[in-house]
Symmetry: C2
Subunit: 543 residues, 2 copies
């Protein structure tokens, strides 16, 4: 079977002088090393089939509800054709002439989807399960939704491998797959450094390769406000690093959302308040609390001023815009790290506290603020996500709010998971996956060893853990180093959140699979850094 994919023009090159090269390549033939993240059930045999671009086709099955014209799958077929045959554009002569087409056995990937949601958005309840069966000349991919079909296409593309001559093969395989958690996120921070749109789009591409499905866009924060608001253009005019070059226009945002949608990725924006809002204050006078030094304003500002009606009017209008732009049913409200120093210094805030009977308990003031914001969000028909601080410091948050855990090491976050789910909230885990924190060596192993459900609680509580997030905060990260810091390090959490934990307990067993997957990322143009000494057949840049 080895030579079946060699076309005649290549065989003729194999004269005696090339035999040493042939043996080298034969020994080093790349074989399929599994899929990342590992499917729930996979069986494969050594029987393998040729796959050639000249005779490869995607087709919809007869029973498929979804047909040609489906935006998500039509675009995916085009994309995956290039991912499966990465050399294609480098060899246009062969492709165009199609001289050996009649000699080549066709290979068809039949795709069947039982629900028609081609123009929708993926959501928390989207089913991503799929079944894939690869046999001679044909593979069949079945999924309930187009989002599941996308996951199956990705797995299919990872099953195809090349030998040393560039010929493509796929082994006989059966897969039955579904995600362990519905929410598998990645946070990018575009406030501490601006990330050009193309960098975000490339990150979405790589997310889809590793089956991450939520882009948590931490779009604004203290350092800059790059979101160009329709209602409040001064927020970015005055709060972005530069009002023209370092902003996300409405078109940019739509482009990101559509790019994500086509890959089955949700975009959850975060507009963190009342803290982390220094940049907001530049374009929105009276929004932030003026801090005082003794009896006089110091000229600096603190968190959003929770005592003014205008603050809530502003937030309601901003969030109305935000929810009209971002279709996802989740909205991240932040709520972390509120520093009370400035509130305490301000006489108007202090008299407001007195009037409300809060005494000196500023947590009550914070709770009042958050309650108002959550109500605004609910009225806009959105589910709130809040950082754990909101849960830790006050109880009156609505049951349907999702709480995201970001603090502490293993025992601490397990305890927090336990408390949050006991209180009936859905929980998201990101504490162990702050991978902007780098460490020399194979630090992906730490991410991989996380056991998200390893906390004390009932089965019902465990079900409330909807997933987790890899966080890449931006203090030291921008377009220059984002990709190699993210990839393949983020893949560890991606497998933990998708795959069966019992089958993926060993980092040593994962290493060769991840090493292979990293080479595949390189082949797809993702600047994924090496895991250890070694090489990829196709290095980044020019080999």
């Amino acid at each position: 079977m080895l030579l079946c994919c060699l076309c005649k023009s290549r065989e003729s090159v194999l004269n005696k002088q090339h035999i040493w090269l042939f043996f080298f390549i034969a020994v080093n033939t790349v074989s399929v090393n599994g899929i990342w993240p590992m499917p729930q059930k996979i069986s494969s045999s050594i029987e393998r089939y040729c796959v050639k671009p000249q005779s490869f086709e995607f087709q919809y099955t007869n029973l498929s509800v979804v047909k040609p014209g489906c935006s998500v799958l039509d675009a995916a077929f085009k994309r995956y054709f290039k991912l499966i045959f990465p050399d294609l554009l480098k060899d246009p002569g062969e492709r165009q002439s199609g001289y050996d087409r009649p000699l080549v056995k066709p290979f068809t990937l039949q795709v069947g989807v039982s629900e028609g949601d081609c123009d929708g958005y993926p959501s928390e309840s989207s089913r991503e399960s799929y079944r894939l069966s690869v046999a001679s000349g044909q593979a069949v991919l079945r999924a309930e939704t187009v989002w599941g079909a996308l996951r199956g296409l990705e797995s299919f593309s990872q099953l195809v491998y090349q030998d040393g001559y560039g010929a493509h093969y796929i082994n006989k395989t059966e897969i039955e797959d579904f995600p362990r958690f519905a929410f598998r996120g990645l946070l990018l921070d575009t406030s501490r450094h601006y990330l050009p749109v193309n960098v975000i789009l490339e990150t979405l591409d790589a997310m889809s390769y590793t089956k991450l499905n939520v882009f948590h866009w931490h779009i604004v924060d203290d350092p800059s406000f790059p979101y160009q608001s329709k209602f409040f253009p001064d927020l970015s005019n005055k709060g972005a690093f530069h009002p023209m070059t370092h902003v996300y226009t409405q078109t940019d945002v739509r482009r990101v959302i559509e790019h994500a949608r086509l890959r089955g990725i949700r975009v959850v924006p975060e507009f963190d308040s009342p803290g982390h809002t220094q940049s907001w204050g530049k374009g929105q006078p009276d929004l932030l609390t003026p801090c005082y030094r003794g009896p006089v304003p110091s000229g600096t500002f603190g968190p959003v001023n929770p005592t003014l009606r205008s603050s809530y009017t502003f937030m309601a209008k901003l969030f109305k815009e935000v929810t009209s732009v971002f279709p996802d049913s989740f909205l991240h409200l932040g709520g972390d790290e509120v520093d009370f120093t400035c509130w305490k210094s301000n006489p108007d805030v202090r008299s407001f506290m007195k009037q409300k009977g809060f005494g000196t308990d500023f947590y009550k003031l914070e709770a009042l603020y958050v309650e108002n914001i959550v109500n605004i969000t609910s009225a806009l028909n959105r589910t709130s996500i809040v950082w754990q601080d909101v849960f830790d410091y006050h109880e009156k948050i609505p049951k349907d709010a999702v709480v995201e855990i970001w603090k502490g090491l293993p025992p601490a976050y397990a305890q927090e998971l336990s408390s949050i789910t006991k209180a009936g909230h859905r929980a998201l885990l990101s504490a162990p996956w702050y991978i902007n924190h780098i460490r020399y060596g194979q630090d992906w192993r730490d991410s991989y060893m996380v056991k998200p459900l390893n906390f004390s609680g009932t089965e019902e509580q465990k079900k409330l853990v909807i997933g987790g997030e890899v966080c890449m905060w931006g203090e030291y990260v921008d377009a220059t180093n984002l990709s190699p810091r993210l990839w393949p390090r983020a893949c560890a959490a991606a497998e933990r959140l998708w795959s069966d934990e019992e089958q993926t307990l060993s980092t040593d067993a994962a290493l060769p699979r991840l090493t292979d997957f990293r080479c595949r990322l390189l082949r797809r143009g993702i600047r994924a850094e090496p895991l250890d000494v070694g090489y990829c057949p196709h290095e980044f840049q020019g080999v």
Copy 2:
């Protein structure tokens, strides 16, 4: 003076609608924040002059020994013109028409060099001092050598800055500059991962921007042997990761050396032995010591076999080739981390030890090997550099050998500097600059705070410290992440090795200068990672 560089077509654009933008830019006008690394003496005034590409010229002074036709400077003028005017190619219309040439006051950089070494190579004794004087319409750069002129051109290019409209300025400035240390190196490891030639060339570019002047090419090691030898082609045919794609041909090596030469950078190759040679054994039978398990060979191999005459014949022939390819007077012999386990296991080695009367002291055997290799190197008219292990474990190394320190933390390497220089050897410091070891946050501060001469010793001893090296070992580094790991982190050591220590003691004072320099690196296409929260006017990729 602010508007002097604005041409009429631009002024007409300044209608009322643009006034807010104008004020933004005026406030944010980039001003010159000094040169990296800091010159020995610099004085500048707020008086500034326009510099326009249409009317900018390099000229040789009348008294210059070096004239047009000088390979090093002719190429440098072309290169620096583009570095000084990075937008030029984006605005070809304006450049070609030259419509306002008559209106523009010319600016000339007069370059005078007093020694004619245009076709030579930089060496340890090359003088790199220069004087630069910038006045209205003219700057004068004087240097003894073309290498000094290159350093001055780099400083000149860093003095030129742009305002928010892209107009170029330079301030009235006087510089008198020279390096503190003659040897300011950077080690790249092309064995643990292969680095494509274009990645090496780009690194040489960035080295020249920060005035590093030695590329220590750790070209081969245990994992792979990418150097394609003329005499021993099997070394890379069998020892490289791939014999075609992961090798450096003779042409590649010549290209690297010439690219480096034109930037005043020496290329010092390292062929580390007798340890770190696993990959050599694949293409050179009988070179490595067969290890034994009890009375039988285990199938594995240890360091170069020091008991066989053939080992030395091979090394002599290889080094003869290497010195014919690499013109530098230094050759790095390695000599680090020799593991005696295999030698101890081998009965032939043991009987050789007995015959030589070495008892069980394998350091004596190692010393015998190193002595032979150093003699081969001396016979080829090259100065040996060895890692400190060679000095630590035996005394009989020639006085002119340079010892490179790689082990330990501050007290340890200071002690080693003291011992090496007391023994009369020249010393190179790299221990504190293993910057492949990354740490979260601003770890460049550690590199910056190193005081290379802070050890106990006489003035004569201190003079024996010829410099230092930044080392970027390749365990976790390849083309995907080399640039952001190197830059700007390596700049810290570059300033320490060039500048006056008393003027550059504070990392806080250095931070804004380094932040500016990092933006300049980005502008020149170097993927230098951010130092802190913030932005550059021109981000990497597309802003």
